[in-house]
């Protein structure tokens, strides 16, 4: 087996997670090298993806796959390597330039969401979009339910082995629930593994009963802290409801329950607590996400006064020192009528108020100097 091979171009139909109508791709990291096909069928037989498969089979690194190879050059584990470890052996028969069918499909359920998480963005969550409109922050339109993927899954369900469900909150969308019902009623659920990324608030009996019918469900719960910290970061969520749902799902043999946090300026001090909570409760934590947008909430924006408190495991996320987090946090606190200092007292550091005032002054000064 050569060192450049990735199983995804041979089995997967994917799209970028946070865009509307983006052309298909083998994975969410792939960078298109030409104007790609618009439909799944066109894509599966397009010159570009055939070329990617061919190059990989020859041991070459396709240009569009540079992100994984770059990660590997830095000594990190790439998505290519992670996916290969679980699926390469199982799908060796697909390793040719023209495999018959994709067996893995990304299903984007649209931005409809029941929560307005502070570190989320307006085009990925309808609720965040509403908040951003209220506080005057510009946003792209929320992305829509992927009707084409829905139709493709219905038409090719007998060939599909994996479906990756993402939102918004996937379980908040009636069309997606209808799709799951279709897969159950058409006797296809029993050969499909679902990857479900969820905020964990909407696991009703109807949903549980559907999930039980699938071959396997890997449920990935987005948790950003423990208790009040999680509830602060994800307004609208209830910690007890979520952990009850996690406890219920893990009782079923076909359902795995994983935890995936998003590292942001809001929780970087509290992630060790979540790590410990997962350990104490025997939940496996997947690779953590890192907030890049809103940029104010990237961990590097953590005020200098709090940096010493960051656990050594997380110091690498601090990078350069800046302060813009405070203004955005305050804006959201005013919108929600909350106070970060109540949820996380460490934010009540001595010069916090001074810093907020300094930021206002700094912006005023920039405006003055622009006209000087």
């Amino acid at each position: 087996m050569n060192d450049t091979l990735c199983i995804l171009p041979f089995i997967s139909l994917d799209r970028n997670a946070d865009s509307t109508n983006i052309p298909p791709a083998p994975c969410c990291l792939y960078q298109a090298q030409s104007k790609t096909a618009e439909t799944f069928e066109q894509y599966w037989h397009s010159d570009e993806i055939v070329s990617v498969r061919s190059q990989m089979l020859q041991g070459k690194q396709p240009k569009g796959c540079w992100k994984c190879f770059h990660e590997e050059s830095l000594g990190k584990t790439s998505m290519r390597q992670s996916v290969n470890s679980g699926r390469l052996d199982a799908h060796k028969t697909s390793l040719n330039t023209h495999p018959d069918h994709p067996v893995q499909v990304k299903m984007l359920a649209g931005a409809t969401c029941n929560l307005a998480c502070r570190m989320c963005v307006g085009h990925v969550s309808s609720k965040v979009n509403t908040v951003w409109q209220a506080i005057g922050r510009p946003s792209q339109d929320p992305y829509k339910y992927d009707q084409q993927a829905d139709q493709y899954i219905r038409n090719n369900a007998q060939h599909i082995a994996y479906i990756d469900l993402m939102g918004g909150e996937p379980l908040y969308h009636k069309k997606l629930i209808a799709l799951l019902k279709f897969l159950v009623d058409s006797n296809n659920a029993n050969h499909i593994t679902l990857y479900l990324t969820t905020n964990g608030m909407l696991i009703k009996d109807e949903i549980k009963n559907l999930l039980l019918k699938f071959k396997k469900v890997v449920s990935i719960f987005s948790l950003d802290g423990v208790g009040v910290v999680h509830e602060y970061i994800r307004p609208g969520s209830e910690w007890q409801t979520i952990i009850d749902n996690m406890s219920t799902l893990r009782l079923f043999d076909n359902i795995d329950v994983l935890v995936q946090p998003t590292i942001s300026v809001l929780n970087i001090l509290r992630l060790p607590e979540l790590d410990q909570w997962c350990k104490d409760n025997n939940y496996h934590m997947t690779q953590k996400c890192l907030v890049h947008n809103p940029i104010e909430l990237h961990p590097k924006q953590l005020p200098i006064e709090l940096r010493e408190k960051v656990h050594s495991d997380y110091k690498k996320f601090l990078e350069t020192k800046t302060y813009p987090a405070l203004g955005f946090i305050k804006q959201l606190d005013e919108h929600w009528g909350t106070n970060i200092k109540t949820a996380m007292p460490e934010w009540d550091f001595e010069t916090a108020d001074q810093l907020e005032n300094d930021l206002v002054t700094y912006e005023k000064v920039q405006e003055f100097l622009n006209n000087e």
């Binding site: 350069t320 800046t322 302060y323 005032n357 700094y362 000064v365 003055f368 100097l369």
Partner: protein, 337 residues
């Protein structure tokens, strides 16, 4: 607007303008920073804590023709120029490039002796501890030991004052055979102090011009010695031509009138800020509400120090911009804004 709010806004304004090249940049590496919030804030946090000269665009440094330094002529010119502060006759002068040079030479010549430094002089303690194994700090004169060395800045950095019983200190040094090196860097910008250096114990005087004139980038400091270090000492001037430049500067900028101009600015700003002017014309006595900017806080020095001064140089430099920003003419008080 309270006083701290006003000064804080000035600090962020000046720091931002400096980062964009729209205000005079300071003369040290820490005066160069990015215009982002962190860069500006880090500088704004100590902008009134660092004592430095006023960057004056009208101040002209004569060209250096790199001729042989005539130390004798420099000594004569200095003696006239500084006469209101002290009598420097009897000392042989050399050009050094920084006060550090004088201090290092002092401890090197006295490598086997204890070096005493006043408790207030935190900069000298910080600096010399790296060069000499026996640097000690005294809080009362009777701690100073026989046959040792004393290095003291007058006015003393911590308080920017000179102790009233300074002659008693010199008496003790005479009696205990203590060799004294005086640093007069702050003396040049003081209004009221003068010093009698005609004492047996005083062996060396250091005069740095960088707090008075915007010269720190040129590194012009001179050291006067009462001891004769040999016939070749003229070879050891660190920069050629500097004697001539300094002589010309002394003719162009007489000490008393230059300090008087600074004092006028000091009084104007202290009136506006409702602060007591310091004896050094670049400073104001700052109450506890402004402790963020006390110099020894910036140096993280002994918190017991009674130094409560802030340096107003950047306000002097950027007066026009500050007036435009706040739409004021400095005739009133800060609390009118």
């Amino acid at each position: 607007m309270n006083r701290l709010e006003f000064l804080r806004e000035c600090a962020i304004l000046i720091s931002s303008a400096q980062s964009y090249g729209k205000a005079p940049k300071g003369e040290s590496v820490w005066s160069i920073f990015d215009p982002d919030f962190t860069g500006v804030l880090n500088f704004a946090n100590n902008i009134f804590a660092e004592t430095r000269s006023v960057l004056n665009k009208d101040f002209e440094v004569p060209p250096n023709n790199y001729t042989w330094n005539d130390n004798k002529k420099l000594g004569d010119a200095l003696s006239d120029w500084i006469v209101s502060k002290c009598n420097t006759q009897g000392f042989d002068w050399q050009v050094v490039n920084h006060t550090q040079r004088t201090l290092i030479e002092c401890v090197a010549r006295n490598y086997d002796k204890t070096v005493w430094i006043p408790a207030e002089s935190y900069w000298q303690q910080d600096y010399l501890s790296a060069y000499h194994k026996d640097v000690r700090v005294y809080e009362s004169y009777d701690q100073i030991t026989k046959d040792s060395v004393l290095i003291i800045d007058l006015p003393t950095r911590g308080s920017l004052q000179i102790a009233q019983d300074i002659d008693q200190l010199f008496d003790i040094c005479d009696a205990k055979n203590v060799q004294v090196t005086l640093d007069f860097t702050f003396l040049l910008i003081s209004k009221s102090y003068s010093i009698n250096v005609d004492r047996e114990c005083v062996k060396c005087i250091n005069i740095g011009f960088s707090k008075l004139w915007p010269l720190v980038a040129h590194g012009y400091t001179i050291a006067g010695y009462k001891q004769d270090f040999g016939p070749h000492k003229d070879h050891y001037n660190l920069q050629k031509g500097v004697c001539n430049q300094l002589i010309q500067l002394m003719h162009t900028y007489p000490l008393q009138s230059y300090v008087k101009d600074l004092e006028n600015k000091q009084i104007k700003w202290c009136n506006f800020l409702d602060l007591e002017p310091g004896d050094c014309v670049l400073h104001a006595i700052a109450p506890a509400e402004l402790s963020l900017y006390w110099t020894h806080q910036y140096w993280n020095a002994n918190p017991q120090l009674e130094e409560k001064q802030i340096c107003l140089s950047t306000l002097f430099e950027n007066e026009d911009m500050i007036k435009r920003y706040f739409n004021i003419d400095l005739s009133g008080r800060f609390y009118d804004i």
